[in-house]
Structure formats: structure tokens, C-alpha cells
């Protein structure tokens, strides 16, 4: 089980590093863009690696928290576009 978790962390960190570097080099200044892309990287990695047979409660809580933060970020952006 731990091997799969380590694989997940490795892929996730590689994805996040490349995404962060790309956004920074492109001159992205919005904080939420970095966090949203990071959350997306996490879920992509999680879906590909599937580290658990039965997801533990603390990981479920983490997943819900990350999904909520992603939803809030996207909702605020959509709201900004609609209002602005």
C-alpha cells in the first residue's frame, strides 16, 4: 500500500512542480490559479494511481476539502466573469 502512496506522491510532486514552474514563467500572478491547477494535478494523479483498495477516512476528508476549495475557486472566477 505504501509503495502506491509513494508513487502517487512522486507523480503528484512532479506534475505540480512542472505546472508551478510553467505558470510562474508565463507570468501568472493569480494565487488561485496555482492552487486550482495543483488540486487538479492531485485528482488526476489520484485517479491514475488509485492508491487504496478502501479509501481511509482521513484521505476522504482531504479529497472533499480539496474538491471544495477547487469548486470555490472556479465559482468565484465564474462569478467574476458574469458580474464583470
Amino acid at each position: 500500500m505504501l509503495k502506491r502512496v509513494e508513487l502517487l506522491i512522486l507523480i503528484y510532486v512532479l506534475l505540480t512542480t512542472s505546472m508551478n514552474a510553467s505558470l510562474f514563467i508565463l507570468g501568472e500572478n493569480r494565487i488561485d490559479a496555482y492552487v486550482a491547477v495543483n488540486v487538479l494535478s492531485y485528482f488526476i494523479t489520484y485517479a491514475v494511481v488509485r492508491p487504496f483498495l478502501e479509501t481511509p477516512l482521513y484521505v476522504k476528508v482531504l479529497n472533499v476539502a480539496l474538491l471544495l476549495s477547487f469548486m470555490i475557486i472556479v465559482a468565484l472566477r465564474v462569478y467574476e466573469v458574469l458580474v464583470g
Binding site: 500500500m1 505504501l2 509503495k3 502512496v5 502517487l8 506522491i9 503528484y12 510532486v13 505540480t16 505546472m19 508551478n20 505558470l23 510562474f24 507570468g27 501568472e28 500572478n29 493569480r30 494565487i31 488561485d32 490559479a33 496555482y34 492552487v35 491547477v37 495543483n38 488540486v39 492531485y42 492508491p51 483498495l53 478502501e54 481511509p56 482521513y58 484521505v59 482531504l62 480539496l66
Partner: protein, 229 residues
């Protein structure tokens, strides 16, 4: 818990905080974004550090494989490959008995003879502290097996129990991959663990394995519980 990951995650969070503070001081929101993103990575690593993962798991699996092969050789030599399997819940530890003549009375651990027929029995001591079921019903057994087999041991995703007259059909769904490979052996650890757990939950009884059906990732056991007063 994995201390290595916990330290790594905490370090990443600390670095991210420093990065965010530096970004705020220099008014570089891009840097603050990078810091926040790294902070999320640190948080994820900290949460995943709570994953149970014993370093000896591979060694235990190899050891289990060795034991299964050794016990299978004994079962073959005793001509018990197509034998009946039952669990004696009356003794402590419970005894899993392989015999061609049904469940012998008062078996001893190891190889023995009931009349002229050989048997092979394995002492199994699982869930010593678990409370016995007050009343045997499919629902209660399912709840207990789910909590012990799927929850505590993470042996499978779920257990479903159906009552068929005097028989109980135990469906072990989503077997853990390392254990799914053992289903082809006469001594299948999944079967032995499930039967021993039922014997522990029921208490003074004999559990007879009537039928076993195994497909990849799924095992169905039909058992008969014989209560002993």
C-alpha cells in the same frame, strides 16, 4: 504512520510559509501562488503520512506463501485435496480441520487420525478480543465481518451475507490483490481467515464449509453453523 513522510510534509509546509511571507513582503503574487501551491503539496504529504504501511508486509506475504506451499504439500500427502473443511470453535485456539469424513470430534492440532481416516488441523487464533454475537443472523454477521475483515484487516472491499435456510452464503467482494492469488490453493488464507472469524463470532460451534466458489477478486463461501450447547 510513516514518520519519513510526516517530516517531509512538515518541511514542505514550512518552506511554503516562508515563500508566501517572502512573496507578500516583495509584493510578488506569483511567488505567493507558488508558495500556496507548495503548501497544498505539504498538506497532502502530511495526510498521506498517516497511511498504515508496515515495512515487513512483503516479508509477511512471502512467509504466508511459504506456509501455504508447505501445508499444501502435507494435505496432498494425506490425500486430503478434496476434503471437507470445518472449524472447531469449541477449542481455544479454534482448529481448522481438513478431513474426508466430515468434522472429527476432539481433533488435535497437526496431523491425526479419526478412526482410520487422516485429518489435518491448523490452530488459528484471530480476533481474540472480539465480542461474540448474541444472536446469529445474516445481518449481524455481515456487519461484524465487514468491520473485521474489510475494515480492520482490509482483506477485501466488502462482505455480504445471505441466509439460505440453514446455510449462510458469505460473499467476499473485492479481494486484496496479494491474497487473490491464493484462491487456487487448497489452503486459501482468505477462506481460513473468514471461517476462523465466523467461529470466533459464533462461539461454541462447528463451522462446516459446504461450498467454495472463487473468481478473480471474489470468493463465495457457503457454510453451515452447527451450534454446540
Amino acid at each position: 504512520m510513516n514518520i519519513r513522510l510526516l517530516v517531509l510534509g512538515t518541511d514542505i509546509v514550512i518552506v511554503s510559509i516562508l515563500l508566501v511571507v517572502y512573496g507578500l513582503i516583495t509584493s510578488d503574487t506569483g511567488l505567493v501562488g507558488v508558495g500556496a501551491s507548495i503548501g497544498v503539496v505539504g498538506g497532502v504529504v502530511v495526510v498521506y503520512s498517516f497511511t498504515p504501511g508496515e515495512p515487513a508486509l512483503d516479508a509477511v506475504l512471502n512467509y504466508a506463501s511459504m506456509l501455504v506451499h508447505a501445508a499444501t504439500a502435507v494435505v496432498e500427502d494425506l490425500d486430503l485435496l478434496n476434503s471437507k473443511v470445518c472449524v472447531h470453535g469449541t477449542s481455544t485456539p479454534a482448529l481448522i480441520v481438513f478431513s474426508k469424513t466430515g468434522c472429527p470430534d476432539n481433533p488435535n492440532p497437526g496431523v491425526g487420525f479419526a478412526g482410520s481416516s487422516p485429518y489435518f488441523s491448523i490452530p488459528v487464533d484471530v480476533f481474540r478480543d472480539v465480542e461474540k454475537l448474541e444472536e446469529l443472523s445474516a445481518q449481524r454477521l455481515e456487519d461484524s465481518l465487514n468491520s473485521l475483515i474489510a475494515g480492520e484487516l482490509a482483506l477485501c472491499k466488502a462482505v455480504r451475507v445471505e441466509q439460505r435456510g440453514e446455510f449462510l452464503a458469505i460473499n467476499v467482494i473485492g479481494l486484496a490483490k496479494p491474497l487473490a492469488d491464493y484462491t487456487k490453493y487448497p489452503l486459501d488464507p482468505v477462506v481460513l481467515l473468514v471461517l476462523a472469524t465466523i467461529a470466533r463470532l459464533v462461539g461454541e460451534s462447528k463451522i462446516h464449509l459446504v461450498e467454495k466458489e472463487a473468481t478473480p477478486g471474489y470468493t463465495r463461501l457457503v457454510v453451515r453453523v452447527e451450534k454446540i450447547a
